[in-house]
């Protein structure tokens, strides 16, 4: 059966028709650096306080994240370049406007982008419908202007959204939403018009989830290897998706960077991995599996 919010039809993974990636790969791997800017003096606009530690500014937390753009991004880039990784960035669009060097580095590498909102200190929670519509047009236009690319997906700003978000994304022409942590494969999201799917992102293989707690990068390496091994095994039957989510201010710290190299070296030692982006996964899935998945899920309705 489908449970509220009725956005996703229940479909147990063991019953699904197998997914075959373009060249029979077992795992579609995408790397998603969150390239973000947090405001020095944000305005709290809704239920979440961007800097809860103190009255604004919070120079410690602001400059900790700013480190990512000044230093960490560039160190992360060296390792990604060594492994020839073409990323799908989770992008605060204002980065394109504030930091032209970062924009150029990403454009030069022909990376793909999903929206991560405009700033990581501006959340969607309380957006009225019209304002959210304008938000998507702003994202689409800003990305197009600075990178030439058409926006296809979104991880909500700081993973925020509204009840209407999937409908309005689809209405604006977006095809994937990565706020859903519910599966190892893409699945359709029910929307009023158009087609929208979820592409698995990760709130577990995510440096920001780990490194605010007492986990360190050696543990992150172990998690990534084990995640990969398990999905690679299961992917022989039906293709799986694996995402590694990064934040330059965290993974670009000097004491952590070698662990990113270790993760990528390990995965690169395997054949039958589709090194790809969320844009490509979403397009391939919609072209080949979307209709089948929608009809197949009907049998599990209560």
């Amino acid at each position: 059966m489908s449970l509220p919010p009725l956005r996703v039809d229940y479909s147990p993974i063991i019953e699904r028709p197998p997914i075959k990636w373009p060249n029979g790969e077992r795992v579609a791997l995408w790397i998603s650096p969150n390239v973000e800017h947090y405001e020095y003096m944000p305005i709290q606009d809704g239920p979440r306080n961007p800097w809860p530690r103190t009255a604004y500014p919070d120079v410690q937390q602001y400059s900790y994240r700013d480190y990512g753009n000044r230093v960490g991004f560039w160190r992360m880039l060296e390792v990604l370049d060594q492994h020839k990784v073409r990323c799908c960035v989770s992008l605060n669009m204002a980065v394109l406007e504030h930091f032209p060097e970062i924009c150029k580095a990403m454009v030069d590498r022909d990376w793909d982008y999903m929206s991560h909102g405009i700033y990581n200190t501006r959340y969607l929670y309380d957006y009225p419908e019209e304002r959210e519509r304008e938000f998507y047009q702003d994202n689409i236009n800003t990305l197009k202007r600075h990178t030439g690319k058409q926006l296809k997906g979104m991880l909500g700003p700081a993973i925020s959204g509204t009840d209407r978000t999937p409908d309005l994304m689809a209405e604006a022409g977006l095809i994937y939403h990565t706020d859903w942590m519910h599966d190892d494969q893409p699945v359709p999201i029910n929307v009023k018009s158009g087609k929208l799917i979820s592409v698995p992102y990760s709130i577990e293989l995510n440096d920001s989830a780990l490194f605010r707690l007492n986990y360190e990068a050696d543990y992150f390496v172990d998690m990534c290897k084990r995640q990969f091994d398990q999905l690679y095994k299961e992917g022989a039957e039906s293709g799986r998706v694996m995402c590694i989510a990064l934040h330059p201010f965290l993974i670009g710290q000097p004491h952590r960077i070698k662990f990113l190299d270790e993760i990528l070296s390990y995965i690169k030692s395997f054949d039958n991995v589709w090194h790809t982006t969320a844009d490509e996964i979403a397009e391939y899935y919609i072209e080949n599996y979307y209709d089948q998945a929608v009809s197949h899920a009907q049998q599990f309705k209560a």
């Binding site: 003096m41 103190t54 400059s63 700013d66 753009n69 700033y119 004491h255």
Partner: protein, 300 residues
């Protein structure tokens, strides 16, 4: 004010500058890494004011109702015991300490002022006490008086005005850098966004510290274990040493004696700092030595 969407950063305190585009910073004797060890001595009040800042960093047991004997005394351990272990270690390794002292430490522990001066430490300003953090809730007058008072107390106790400032719990308002510059401070350690010093405004420079290598942030707030912390220090140094061959790096580490001065922890700190000092091309210097050099040798 929320950010305006235009090139550059969203405040006026310093310019946007990605490290990838900068000219080469050369340290004395072509050192690759300038190592600055900051030792923070802040006094935890027996009865903190109601409007104080309740830091999450409270040792192993969290914050208790008044009177919080464990919290008070755990922190006081740093002033009674831990500081000497830390200073002995730094002296053995040839690292000149930069000691951060708040007003209640200066006034309540005059012995420590003289002891640190006698050992050649640089002493810099911090504020009033562990619970009183600068924030945007202060008025301009309150904040100016707060900083001026901390500077004056240090000047009186040490005979010279402090050149550096590292606010309690990295606290600042929007105005703090301007006030620090007006009061004659040459460098501030609150901004953790870089691996090189940089110029702010009106003669003020930033001496960025590595937040993730702050023992209190990592071990007390994040609860990372001491063995892992020591490994982070070594791994971080190794990469900065590598990168420092191309463009000099600053490794500024903030150490709290109540925490790292514990007998079971000090050996790990010795191992990590010893690892760093075992390399050629490491310039161990105090905050003002680093900023003085930087000011005269700024890369183009």
């Amino acid at each position: 004010m929320p950010a305006e969407r235009r090139p550059g950063t969203d405040h006026e305190h310093h310019e946007w500058s990605p490290i990838s585009t900068r000219g080469k910073l050369s340290w004395p004797n072509n050192a690759r890494v300038a190592l600055c060890v900051i030792v923070t001595l802040e006094h935890t009040e027996w009865q903190p004011p109601n409007d104080g800042f309740n830091s999450a960093a409270s040792g192993g047991v969290g914050v208790r109702p008044f009177p919080d004997y464990p919290r008070y005394s755990h922190r006081d351990y740093g002033h009674r015991v831990g500081i000497f272990r830390v200073l002995d270690l730094l002296e053995r390794l040839g690292i000149k300490p930069t000691v951060v002292m708040d007003t209640q430490t200066v006034q309540g522990y005059p012995y420590l002022v003289q002891h640190c001066l006698g050992r050649g430490c640089e002493i810099i300003g911090h504020g009033e006490s562990a619970s009183q953090m600068i924030s945007g809730d202060m008025s301009l007058e309150q904040e100016t008086e707060f900083i001026r008072s901390a500077i004056d107390v240090l000047k009186k106790a040490t005979g010279s005005a402090p050149k550096g400032w590292f606010g309690t719990d990295y606290g600042e308002s929007e105005r703090t850098p301007d006030i620090l510059a007006q009061l004659g401070i040459s460098y501030v350690c609150d901004w953790v966004n870089d691996e090189q010093p940089y110029e702010m405004k009106d003669g003020l420079f930033a001496l960025p510290t590595m937040l993730e290598l702050d023992d209190q942030f990592t071990m007390s707030n994040r609860r990372v274990t001491i063995d892992r912390y020591a490994q982070m220090l070594k791994d971080g140094f190794d990469v900065m040493y590598r990168d420092g061959a191309e463009n000099g790096r600053l490794l500024a580490i903030n150490i709290h004696p109540w925490l790292s001065g514990q007998p079971f922890r000090i050996g790990y700190l010795e191992e990590a700092l010893g690892h760093m000092m075992g390399h050629d091309g490491v310039w161990a210097a105090s905050g003002s030595e680093i900023i003085d050099w930087y000011r005269s040798n700024m890369p183009v």
